[in-house]
Amino acid sequence: MGIIIAKILIPFLIIVNLIPLLIWVERKGSAYIQDRRGPNRASFFGIRLGGLLHALADVIKLITKEDIIPSQVNKPFFILAPFITLTIACVTYAVIPFADPLIIDGKLFPLQAANLNVGILYILSMSSLGVFGVMLAGWSSNNKYALLGGLRSSAQMFSYEISMGLSLMSVVMIGGSLELTTIINQQSHFPWQWNFLKQPLACLLFIVATFAETNRNPFDLPEGESEIVAGYHTEYSSMKFAMFFMAEYAHIIIASALISCLFFGGWQFPFLSTHFLREQAGEGIFILLLAHAFLFVLIGIFLLSKFSKGKYGDKRDYEVLVIGVPFTLLGLGLGFTALFIGTGDYGVMGRQIFAALMQFGALMTKILFFCWLFIWVRWTLPRFRYDQLMHLGWKVMIPLSLANIFITGVVLLFL
């Protein structure tokens, strides 16, 4: 029982902690894309930490704001809508595997919250439940903008769900399973065997469909602020609004995890197989520690070199020291640890844990890259018009994905 709870809680906490980080990346990234500085005011005893504190400040602000429930709304559904949206957004991660299964006493120990053999169907069903929160929010608000936003959103999500399912079909045909672990194993650790090269069209269709499913730009018509104020969450305030916001980022993280699992090898470390990682754990830890030590010392020294006392004339001068000194010390500590322990032997369990951590790192790198892709696209592309959106969904993506299934079937037959 304890193991189940650990397997549920650890990825949950990772996702929940990624949400404020992503919001920070979004605000800072959009600022630099638009040539401005972004959030840099919130401070803790005069130390600003590059705007990271804004996430914390926002949470405190939103919790202490008045929770307005307008008089015309359908109260139970109005409260239920953000609840459903956030709950569903937190549930989908269950089947995403984080590393190669460990082998304990000859038994496989899968590193995913729930080891279901219908993984892809579970994800599709759960992500389609997200429509309910949006629809309920739009309808129960009894506001014209909210209703229009909810209708737009549900029609859009319906339309793109079909092409999402159809584009996954070819991946399932190649993998011959609905289990994500099997699909990742079948992609192997060589990047040229990953599904985005075997199924480039399906990969592109899936990425576009996930953009539409998460209501992100260029498909953010449900909350197109220049047309319908804020769409389905126009009437929401304080933490209820924040819950829709958090659910959006949770959806982005899970969509990125799915894209990396299905098309980019998931936890597969490029060029290094699980077997190799387990065999070479001693050298691996040594190199990893040294590399991190080098990186941390480099960052620390760079920050320390920026220190000059008269720049602002107050506590802001010491910001670089607050981050730079711990980084340097941590780097030096890691370096000495590496030199001290050398390339030791860590036993069967230690090697497996090392391999799992390396693969988890590879997966996180891929997830963060796709999260950045979501942000990058949002601040680069303009919004679609609604008829263009429907045209793309029904007249381009569905025929293309049907053709893709047909071609995959024929190629598999004669291969």
Binding site: M1, I8, V91, L151, F158, I162, M169, V229, I398, G409
Partner: protein
């Protein structure tokens, strides 16, 4: 050995708790000073005109119906897609490919029909 869906149940409970705590916290902590204009529907600062729940464009329900049709056909494709490689290995590949070709053809005919009837055009 526990039931494979037990973690899913626990995750739903966890997600519900997570969302519930936020709802409860904001309703407990935040001030409650509702005035008449604060609690009225938002219409860009103007007085609301009429009710929001009036008649809607039939397009939206058409999309919903088309979605159900095509999504069910997607579901029918999944078992075939999972077993397709096994069928190829056991020599039934061509038969299954033709079968699914007919199915996809009917699906495509349906799509073309809906297209020609201009049900996919968004005015």
């Amino acid at each position: 050995m526990h039931h494979p869906y037990l973690p899913v149940l626990l995750i739903i409970v966890l997600g519900g708790l997570f969302a519930g705590v936020f709802l409860l916290a904001s309703s407990l902590i935040g001030p409650k000073k509702g005035t008449k204009s604060k609690l009225s529907p938002y219409e860009c600062g103007l007085k609301p005109v009429g009710n929001a729940r009036e008649r809607l464009d039939v397009k939206f329900s058409l999309v919903a119906m088309l979605f159900i049709l095509f999504d069910i056909e997607t579901v029918f494709l999944f078992p075939w897609a999972v077993l397709y490689r096994d069928f190829i290995k056991s020599g039934l590949g061509l038969f299954m490919a033709i079968e699914m070709g007919i199915f996809l053809f009917i699906l495509a005919v349906g799509l073309v029909y809906v297209w020609r009837k201009k049900a996919l055009d968004w005015r």
